[in-house]
């Protein structure tokens, strides 16, 4: 009913406009023309079942920054249209004037969400308002600094649809911010220069922190923070060498590594949280936890010798609250090393160890089980448990047979510690003290330890050559050109990698007798027939007796550079075969090389000469034995008879006895 009455009035208005504005043309639409209807507080319409007010407060509009604009300047689709107009109207395009901001917003997270049709994505008026937009400098503006947290917080606080339904990694953003040093300054102390959401995230170019263009990208954080905290490096010189700020900004910790976003508080370092304060209690050897009674004593000497000598207690024990008498009583969580060692933490979380920790498995090792706590040392320090010569013992703590990791293990490798110690790597490391020798972590990695079945594992068959090749690079190059690699994809058989021949933990020197002998069995695992026929030849028979001087598989075929016989680079190609024989038989000729090194006398098609020779000889053998044997067996009864006769005759078995 109201609408109808408004329309009636509209018609009146239109008539008056037509009269008064005749000079400017019939279509001219002045603001009062619009307000004739929209100035009515009760003007509203139903849209999608909801009542939408259509009232425009002339006073507020008059005070807004857009007061000088005409209605149709923004509601451009009404230009030249007859009033009253139909509905719905097109959305106002702020970008027609605010081109730059519109562009930034369109590229931002918010803009892209709109483009996707995300209903929760904010448009201009959601932050800025509509007809009542005030200049930013005006304290009553919707986007005045002190109101920004609430503008953003409309969506970004606990319980909102955005926080619940969209992927937002930070939690309690508004709460944390309001308690942070920035929030406190802005909200409690009214410092409008304090950083608000948009100071760090920007107003319109809001991007994910992983986007390199983002103001909160790791690379850009320092620049973002130093917009306000200029010369902050002077403060940090104690921790970070000054020139690095310019030269190697990448290798530096980003501000947020220490000053967590949204929680930034200055109490971190200087507000009475010196290590000395902690040591007041923890320096006493008798200090114990009230629960469980474990010792809480911290040996300062230990820290002084450690890698973290320059790290303050509160940098790791980060939840301390300096305003408390016992600053540490606010601590609820264990030390999180990844707040500094983020990259390693990411690797660790993907590893078997990390995944077990995520499942709260009691057997899973966390950082300090390998690295220690206050006395943490670098891996180059011989006293460190992560120094190469100490690593086998370190891993053995859990992986020795019978220990907690070994008992859960269901694979085929056993006694790995003992076997490793006997292996060439183990001897090199532990007996010869070669710290460059492969230890557990060289093959399994330190933090990305994964089972062999995982495609990302360094010891997955796919990755083994590269893993071994990190040290044995030349071998890897040869191997990659060999038939065992180039056949990949052309055969359905599983091709061998390093450990199939060399084993995993029992790796021996390749020039030891034992290795030379077992290698034939290793080749024979796949090359069954050909290895059998090898053992039918002189080379194979001597090898089988346990001697290594005769030719074994790799003496002719090569070890890592095995190629198809047809490949000109093969040791057995037409070009190379004589030279290969000459390695042992200096007088070898091409004819000599015609010796059948894998001959079998069981194949009449392939080797008729051998087949018929063998059966000819076997026939001769059987024939001779049949005749000789029959002759002997037939003779036997007569011979026994003769013996008895001699015995009867003269009491002796021998014919000579009678004389």
């Amino acid at each position: 009913m109201r609408l109808t009455s408004s329309i009636a009035r509209g018609w009146l208005l239109l008539a008056s406009v037509g009269l008064s504005g005749g000079l400017r043309g019939a279509a001219a639409q002045e603001n009062p023309d619009c307000l004739a209807c929209h100035g009515d507080r009760s003007l509203s319409m139903k849209r999608g079942g909801k009542t939408v007010p259509l009232f425009v407060d002339e006073k507020k509009f008059g005070a807004s920054i857009h007061a000088s604009l005409s209605c149709v300047g923004c509601h451009a689709d009404l230009q030249g249209k007859e009033l009253p107009h139909g509905s719905p109207l097109a959305k106002v395009d702020c970008g027609s004037c605010h081109t730059q901001q519109q562009k930034e917003h369109a590229e931002s997270l918010h803009g892209r969400a709109i483009a996707r049709g995300d209903e929760l994505a904010p448009r201009c008026p959601d932050c800025h308002g509509d007809h009542d937009i005030l200049p930013v400098k005006n304290p009553r503006s919707a986007v005045a600094p002190q109101r920004i947290p609430w503008v953003c917080g409309k969506c970004h606080q606990e319980g909102t649809p955005v926080q619940r339904q969209r992927v937002i990694h930070e939690d309690h953003i508004l709460t944390n911010y309001s308690e942070s040093i920035h929030g406190e300054a802005l909200l409690k102390k009214g410092l409008t220069v304090a950083a608000t959401c948009v100071s760090c995230h920007t107003a319109h170019t809001i991007l994910r922190h992983t986007d390199p263009r983002s103001s909160i990208n790791r690379k850009n954080i320092a620049a973002t923070c130093t917009k306000c905290h200029s010369q902050i490096e002077a403060v940090h010189r104690k921790i970070i060498r000054g020139e690095l700020w310019e030269k190697q900004a990448n290798s530096l910790p980003a501000c947020v590594d220490c000053h967590q976003p949204h929680k930034a508080r200055r109490v971190f370092y200087d507000q009475g949280m010196a290590d000395a304060d902690c040591m007041k209690c923890h320096g006493d050897p008798g200090v114990r936890a009230s629960k469980g009674g474990r010792t809480l004593f911290v040996n300062l000497e230990e820290i002084r010798g450690s890698r973290h000598v320059r790290t303050a207690c509160s940098q790791c024990h980060s939840e301390v609250n300096a305003s408390r008498v016992r600053p540490c009583e606010t601590i609820t969580k264990k030390v999180d090393c990844t707040s500094c060692h983020a990259d390693i933490g990411a690797l660790y979380q993907k590893s078997t160890h990390g995944m077990l920790v995520a499942k709260s498995d009691p057997n899973a090792p966390v950082c300090n089980e390998c690295h220690g706590t206050h006395g943490v040392l670098g891996k180059r320090d011989p006293a460190s448990p992560t120094f190469p010569t100490n690593i086998p013992d370190l891993c053995a703590r859990c992986h020795r047979e019978g220990r907690k990791a070994a008992v859960r293990y269901t694979g085929t490798e056993h006694d790995i510690i003992e076997r490793y110690q006997e292996s060439i790597h183990g001897k090199g490391l532990l007996k010869s003290g070669l710290t460059v020798t492969a230890t557990c972590t060289d093959c399994h990695t330190a933090h990305s330890v994964l089972p062999i079945s995982s495609p990302e594992s360094s010891v997955n068959p796919k990755n083994v050559p590269a893993t071994c090749g990190r040290c044995h690079h030349g071998i890897e190059e040869m191997f990659n050109a060999s038939v065992h690699v180039t056949q990949a994809g052309k055969t359905d058989k599983r091709l061998p990698v390093c450990n199939d021949c060399h084993s995993a933990h029992t790796i021996r020197r390749a020039d030891t007798e034992g290795f030379k002998l077992t290698i034939m069995a290793q080749c024979g695992k796949c090359h069954e027939e050909i290895s059998k026929t090898y053992f039918d030849t002189y080379h194979g028979k001597v090898s089988q007796l346990g001697y290594t001087k005769t030719a074994k598989c790799y003496d002719c075929h090569g070890a890592h550079d095995i190629r198809a016989i047809g490949d000109p680079k093969s040791h057995l190609s037409r070009e190379n075969v004589v030279a290969t024989c000459q390695k042992c038989h200096p007088g070898a000729t091409r004819r000599f090389a015609g010796y059948l090194t894998h001959a079998t006398h069981h194949d009449p098609q392939k080797y008729p000469f051998l087949f018929y020779t063998f059966w000819g000889m076997t026939g001769l053998l059987i024939g001779t034995f049949v005749v000789g044997g029959l002759h002997t067996i037939l003779w036997l009864p007569r011979a026994i008879q003769m013996r008895r006769r001699f015995r009867r005759k003269n009491g002796t078995s021998r014919p000579g006895g009678e004389a």
Partner: protein
Amino acid sequence: MTPDEAVHRMEPPAQSGQPEKQYLRFSRLNRILHVVMIVSFMSLALTGMTLKFSYTAWAAILSRLLGGYETAGYIHRMAAVLMVTIFILHINDLARRKRREYGSWKALLTGPDTMLPTKRDLKEFVGSLRWFLGMGPRPRYGRWTYWEKFDYFAVFWGICVIGSTGLMLWFPEFFTLLLPGWTINVATIIHSDEALLAVGFIFTVHFFNTHLRPEKFPMDIVVFSGRMPVGEFREDKPAEYEALVNAGTLDEHLVDPYPPIVIRTIRAFAWTALALGFSIVVWIIYAMLFAYR
């Protein structure tokens, strides 16, 4: 019966303090050659079989005992050289005897003591079969029976076949200047199978003929001592005995027996060779039946 008892039985009953004369069947050279041949043959068999049956555990052990495959190889080749030397010495002896006793090869090869097979051997073979089957008396064998002649020529054949292929395997680089490479594979098969035949035959059939024949059990040492009691000679080779008696030349072939110490030494050697030979047979049977691949 212990060897000692056997020795005592060997002793002819004392007659006026003089030991009874014995028939001399083998010359000193032939006896020495046979002993050396045993040494050579045993060495060849032991060292060769370790390779042929390399897939058995005890081939590996034996190879170690023999000083490794290289030392075993040296032993094998030296023993082969020895064998060929024996062969040459024997041929040389034949040539000497041709000169001294027969005057011509024809006389030697066609005389009554010839090693060549004759019509009479065929008759004796048929006669033997009849005797075995109870269809006739024991043939009256002469100086060399047909099985002795077979053993004798088996050595000729073996030395030629095994010796020639062995040379090829010893000097493959030289032989492949003339022959294709696969002939070495063929030579390997022939060498090894012919050797198996020789070893198998000698350690079973030949051993039976000389040791295990009940009337000779446990062993006949005539090939080492060269002597056999006249009574035994008469029973075993009646034709030869009668020929000598008729010609009146038996006494020329009678000699004094060896003293017991020599007999004991001979027996110790013979027992060793016998044991070794049987061990090899057992090993071969084991390898062929249970470990063959």
